[in-house]
Symmetry: C2
Subunit: 484 residues, 2 copies
């Protein structure tokens, strides 16, 4: 059906399904084990909806101890495990397979502790990203990483994918805002990693777990760094005639030593679609748009925006508009944050996620257009310009397999172009299944083999979230060792 | 001579010394291999000077390729390798052993690239920490981590130990300011890890390498995140009658949502010693002192300091003094940064490095005094109060082995007390040999075994920086596997 291969299901596991389900029911009582086809269907895909596989069963534990028992059971029985947050992965990171169980965190959503003095917060990882900030908003604090899917996506998923968001230019991505986790290994061991302090003795396993795409184990609790809200924040919109001019303005603002909280870019197609949806006052006559947001006291906001406006004008901004009210600011962000959804109303698309050095923006945008033109496809560009994280949306028709194949080919070419200019394959969506085979474009076999050895230090039998991240054809280091 | 055991040298390696040296000379020409006893003596210890071991030989490569050749040679020949930056480790992290070679980065000190627009800088890792900031100061940029030893310590050492500094409260530690590295594995493979972007696909090996205390491989080049200097910075000194009052003020400032760049604490003994040295105007009549530094525009400095002063007064500050000039500010910091050196002029000491939750400061300080009183030893407290990183200096007499043994016992009790209140064994100095056996106080065997499996994914033969970090008596996971 689609271009990305998944391994065939293991018939020995399929044949033992009833026995495996019975074993899981003994560990997670009540409604924690989902078996019926209807209910399992909700878990057969994630936000990379072109790919679907029905899992063997779905388990929704309520405690860390249940998670440990389930993983130990699966390790013993050789059953693959696909961990799942809210299933918002754009790269197929939560795609099940027929011989795997899905293990979800949706029943573990509690806030366990808030410590404003040490600026930390302890949560169960099934809580949504926005739920974290909502729980501390009345104290004037917030949790910084803010993926577009923040209403739905979970902290578990954010940790697995090391999620970023519009504001990571200033505040960093998940790994920069994560202090510690309760982690369950595939062996069913419960391990405390990191803590309330900035540094801990021993190896920083926290960093390598964050972004390991659910291939190391399950994170059931997390200590997050929370931050006091800025006194105020204000976005400004700039219209430019060309993407080149907008790109040059981004580089100039950053080079001047200004740190906005966010610099977002949209091209002509994206402007029209988002403006239709959000009525935010985006400049429809512009060829490209920048949203620049700054934070601080009223005086600081005025000062920073004046400097940014001067630089933008010097680089050809044809219009500018500051949000005068909170409602105007919200509308500006509503347009940006709803961009993927708004696009989805008018077309199917695959969303790419490459990064590039900021200075190479104009030439890469030009190359993206060329690539998509050659396939006869439309492309919209919406992205985090401040940190060079591109999100080209390649439009296609889901009912036309040829069109999907072309879109995937264009996507691959776009990512190769990003790597060629010194960027990388994924900024924040992860590798999942989507970019698995492309990892060899970015990394040498030596580099991939080193990563795989670390993966095996956690999951020697390769049962956690199988067929993701690493090229399927690459030999596993443990197999090489056996052969040698 | 001292309390911490090192494994006996392997006689088979010692017997093959000439052959090993000849092999090394073939790989690193000229003066890159040091053999004479006189010259080797400079490498027999680090800043944990109570421990000394003469290495077999010292190698100072000039290129990444030479480093790779040396490591591959040692891996093949089974020769242990002790990597070394400037040898400023306070925990014995660079202590050699008789059957090991020391491999140093002192010939690799170049700045390779500065990219202000993307705020990154590429260096060879033998450059000093201060050398990095010095190279970009004229552009108005700086590198944030600032250990007290920054004049001497290298980026290689900073990465190995995940070093912090006085200003890490605001800017984070090394791992928060490191974008990518060129890394040489013990097999002699050259691996590029991370990059110019905030996130990269695949596993974040960068985080687990940073802070791995030279046990994974050698970092020969690094891409560092650099930051624009703040418009201005100003420290303020507060005197308090008691440590308890100062501790409460720290918690109150942080709880109010203010982010100073640094909050430093000194007790009575430390105040006197540092004031004798730096003549910084420290309040000699106070029982404890805080240095709080803030950054921003003149208006912001005034605003922030006024808020901080109000909170400090509410918590019993008996005196306060803002630096009025750059010279006054420099004197205040000179006192703090020279504290360990100034202390060294009047007594031998061991410097502990525990962390605690900020709110537990008063009771832990009280406990530290009790512990040292019981051993008949003096203790001075100087530390990064903002992030709860304690540095009790336990004074002893190096010519009296009994006094050293007592100091080590007191040090161990202090670290246990830190862990008991929810803190940890080391904030920034690392485990090295000093805290190796104490790791079991902080971690379960399951947790340590998981760390050791990751170590083995990089160095299966345990040749990189041996006898550090992990308790000597713990079985290696690979041995357990063989036995099973």
């Amino acid at each position: 059906m689609t271009g990305i291969a998944m391994p065939a299901a293991n018939p020995r596991i399929l044949a033992r399904r009833d026995e495996i389900v019975a074993g899981l029911r003994a560990l997670v009582p009540g409604e924690g084990v989902i078996v019926s086809e209807d209910e399992r269907r909700a878990f057969e895909t994630d936000a990379l909806t072109a790919y679907r596989r029905m899992p063997l069963a779905v388990v929704l534990p309520s405690t860390t101890e249940q998670v440990a028992a389930v993983l130990a059971f699966c390790d013993r029985e050789g059953v693959p495990v696909v961990p799942r947050g809210a299933g918002t992965s754009l790269a197929g990171g939560a795609l099940p397979q027929e011989d795997a169980i899905v293990i979800g965190v949706s029943k573990m959503t509690q806030v366990l502790d808030v410590d404003l003095a040490s600026r930390t917060m302890r949560v169960q990882t099934g809580i949504t990203n926005l739920g974290v900030s909502a729980a501390i908003a009345h104290e004037g604090f917030f949790y910084a990483p803010d993926p577009s899917s923040q209403l739905a996506c979970t902290i578990a998923g954010n940790i697995a994918m090391n999620s970023g968001g519009a504001h990571c230019l200033k505040y960093g991505v998940t790994t920069n805002n994560l202090m510690g986790v309760t982690f369950v290994t595939m062996r069913g061991e419960i391990v405390e990693i990191g803590g309330d302090a900035m540094d801990a003795p021993g190896l920083d396993l926290l960093g390598v777990i964050c972004g390991s795409e659910g291939q190391f184990g399950m994170v059931t609790e997390a200590t997050l760094r929370i931050l006091p809200m800025a006194e105020g924040a204000r976005p400004i919109l700039f219209g430019f005639e060309t993407s080149e001019a907008a790109g040059a303005a981004v580089a100039a603002v950053l080079g001047a030593g200004i740190v906005p909280v966010a610099i977002e870019f949209m091209d002509k197609i994206a402007i029209d679609i988002c403006e239709d949806f959000a009525h935010a006052g985006y400049p429809r006559d512009a060829g490209a748009l920048l949203i620049v947001e700054v934070e601080g006291s009223p005086v600081e906001l005025d000062e920073q925006l004046a400097r940014i406006e001067m630089i933008a004008r010097q680089h050809g901004a044809t219009s500018s508009r500051q949000a005068k009210t909170a409602a105007e600011a919200a509308a500006i962000w509503k347009g940006r944050k709803s961009a993927f959804g708004a696009m989805g109303r008018i077309s199917d698309y695959i969303c790419m996620d490459g990064t590039i050095p900021t200075g190479r923006l104009p030439e890469v945008l030009h190359r993206i257009t060329e690539i998509c033109d050659a396939q006869g496809l439309k492309v919209a560009n919406i992205f985090h310009a401040g940190d060079g994280n591109l999100h080209p949306l390649v439009l296609y028709d889901m009912n036309d397999p040829v069109s999907l194949a072309k879109a995937e080919e264009a996507g691959e070419e776009i990512l190769r172009a990003c790597v060629e200019v010194g960027g990388c394959l994924t900024g924040e969506h992860g590798v999942g299944i989507e970019k698995r085979e492309l990892m060899t474009v970015q990394f040498t076999h030596v580099e991939l083999a080193q990563m795989m050895r670390v993966k095996e230090a956690f999951d020697p039998n390769w049962l956690m979230n199988p067929a993701k991240v690493f090229p399927l054809e690459m030999a596993r280091p443990s197999d090489v060792k056996v052969a040698a």
